[in-house]
Amino acid sequence: MRDVKAGSSEYITLVSNDGFEFKIQRSSACISGMIKRMLDPNGGFSESTTNVCKFSEINGIVLEKVCEYFYYNEKHKDSRDVPDMDFPPELCLELLMAADFLDT
């Protein structure tokens, strides 16, 4: 991990636009280029001190899947043969757009 400054902790909170909160390991969530930038202590975002990221574009169901992906990624990060993760068809488009937004 990078240098740990005041205000950073091992877990962060992701909040969906409909108020669902997900606590997740910082290192897992930082797979997302967007979240990494939000939490960067040198980035000047308020998220870096509160450790809470709010997403006005992403609803709870989609954000839950995103968190599932973070854990999937964490779990398999050293393996070469990774089973594909499947998503409910009706969520695919929103997930795609969320992934684009999150740079994940």
Binding site: N73, K77, D84, E90, M97, A99, D100, L102
Partner: protein, 526 residues
């Protein structure tokens, strides 16, 4: 039950699935072969038997939709004309989305919406049922086949009638060639099969396997129909003197090819997969002339390098020559050395193999020389925002000593597909992407241009030859995460020195940053 028109390849063992299109006649048992593949084959031949030329109505596609994922779909005609049935999915997706947005009470409220989408679907089905007769014309007004192609189609029909295996479509001023025009070539030996009431045995099969020669030279083709790469019985393919910008990687599916001519096109680099066809040297593959990329300037003769001279020269000429020239000279020396390294390693392996079999050593060599810089791409396939100080991409993909310079971060070694890729694949497998790309729908869903272009690619893959294979791990992908060009020596073993005519560029595309690994110096194929 339609009969297969492409017999299996008897000689080959490690073919890609597409080449092993053996279909058991009458029963679906006994062959360990992907069910998806089988369905597509059936559907293809069904459509053939009804109407060979204008077979790209959408009924087949719709019939298949329920049975298998969309990913494997071979769509006939441009993707934007296909899959009218899936507006239903789209509406249902929207209904779900609405339902979720209104889900404060915790109860899904979408019943009104789902009802209306059902009635919409049924009225659509009814319309299609009513319009079955006129559908070909109605559905594809934009696809009036140009005259040249009509002529090509007639030639193909004549060859089929006469059972001729050489199909000469040269000099027709063809600007395009559609899937439906070449598809009848699957039938080439179909008549011979009709007397069989059982699955032909291998002995019965082999004399019936046609060796298709397809001459498309001296036309104006800028692209090739995907269906061409399903004609696994092509043994000789000439694309000479056309306007092709690239040779599709699907060329590797034509495993029976013995002759391939792509000279006289606008090809700058070859697909990585062509190396597979080139190795072994049994095939005659002509790629020159083409505006092929060069690793560095190889036109000037190079003073035969020795280890000392390259090292000394970098000191001697420290201020006399430009940095670029000096770099090139060092690079040129490095290329020559790598050629020798590859030859040495190859000789060692040949020596070891010689004891086991007495194959005569081939004169033509394939030895890896160097790579360009790797281009790292983001989750949506766009170039990464580049750190300060890194040089801009060079369209000429020049070779470099350090291809992995400017790698994104040290942690970028993962082989795991991005969430973006996974979601896109799911979407491709379950929806008709063309629906989302209609301007009104795209606006409604607020689809960004980056997402839209990724969806375009996914849709194009579905309509064409399918998703690509990673040139490193072999897995399928839609969005490539890194690309580079590798330069390989391809010349005779007696050639002492590199020249512009003995080096070939191959484009590699990979599924993940972890797969972005250039070949090791000394790598060779034989």
């Amino acid at each position: 039950m339609a009969l297969p028109s492409s017999p299996p390849l008897l000689e080959e063992e490690n073919d890609l699935p597409i080449a092993t299109t053996f279909l058991p006649l009458g029963s679906g048992s006994g062959i360990s072969f992907g069910a998806l593949q089988r369905k597509r084959q059936y559907a293809d031949y069904d459509s053939l038997s009804s109407d060979p030329v204008f077979s790209d109505t959408t009924e087949d596609d719709e019939a298949q939709d329920a049975e298998r994922p969309r990913r494997k779909k071979v769509v006939r005609g441009p993707w934007w004309h296909v899959g009218k049935g899936t507006a239903h999915d789209l509406r249902r997706g929207m209904a779900k989305k609405e339902g979720f947005r209104n889900a404060d009470s915790g109860v899904w409220m979408g019943s009104d919406v789902s009802e209306s989408s059902d009635s919409m679907l049924s009225s659509r089905q009814r319309m299609q049922e009513l319009a079955v007769e006129g559908q070909v014309e109605d559905a594809v007004p934009a696809r009036a086949i140009p005259e040249a192609e009509t002529y090509a189609s007639r030639i193909i029909q004549t060859c089929l009638d006469r059972g001729e295996e050489a199909v000469d479509l040269s000099d027709l001023a063809l600007r395009s060639l559609s899937d439906s025009t070449v598809r009848p070539l699957h039938q080439l030996i179909k008549s011979s099969f009709t007397t069989f009431t059982h699955a032909p045995s291998e002995d019965e099969f082999s004399p019936l396997t046609p060796s298709l020669t397809l001459i498309l030279s001296r036309n104006r083709l800028a692209s090739l129909p995907a269906e061409l790469f399903n004609l696994s019985n092509i043994t000789c393919l000439s694309l000479r003197n056309n306007e092709l910008d690239e040779l599709p990687s699907a060329i590797v599916r034509l495993t029976r090819l013995t002759e391939l001519n792509v000279s006289g096109n606008n090809i700058q680099y070859l697909p990585w997969e062509l190396l597979d066809l080139m190795q072994g040297g049994e095939r005659q593959i002509l790629v020159r002339p083409n505006p092929l990329l060069q690793p560095t300037d190889l036109d000037e003769p190079y003073p035969l390098p020795s280890f000392s001279s390259t090292q000394v020269s970098s000191i001697d000429e420290s201020q006399a020559s430009s940095t670029r020239a000096k770099l090139d000279e060092g690079l040129r020396g490095e290329l020559e050395l790598r050629l020798k390294l590859g030859r040495t390693l190859k000789a060692q392996q040949m020596q070891a193999a010689m004891n086991e079999d007495d194959r005569p050593a081939r004169n033509e060599e394939l030895i890896y020389l160097a790579s360009s810089h790797i281009r790292w791409l983001g989750v949506d396939g766009s170039p990464l925002r580049r750190a300060r100080g890194t040089p801009p991409h060079d369209d000429d993909w020049p070779a470099t000593m350090n291809p992995t310079a400017h790698a994104p971060t040290a942690s970028a070694t993962t082989h795991i597909p991005s969430l973006f890729e996974l979601a896109l694949r799911s979407l491709q497998a379950t929806h008709n992407l063309a629906d989302f790309l209609e301007p009104a729908t795209a606006a409604e869903f607020e689809i960004s241009s980056a997402v839209a272009s990724a969806m375009h690619r996914a849709a194009r893959n579905s309509a064409g030859t399918g998703n690509e294979n990673c040139s490193c791990c072999g897995k399928y992908f839609i969005i490539s995460r890194a690309e580079w060009v590798e330069y390989w020596f391809n010349g005779s073993a007696s050639q002492q020195e590199l020249d512009a005519n003995s080096v070939l560029p191959f484009l590699r595309r990979v599924c993940s940053w972890g797969c972005a690994k250039v070949s090791e110096p000394g790598t060779f194929r034989c």
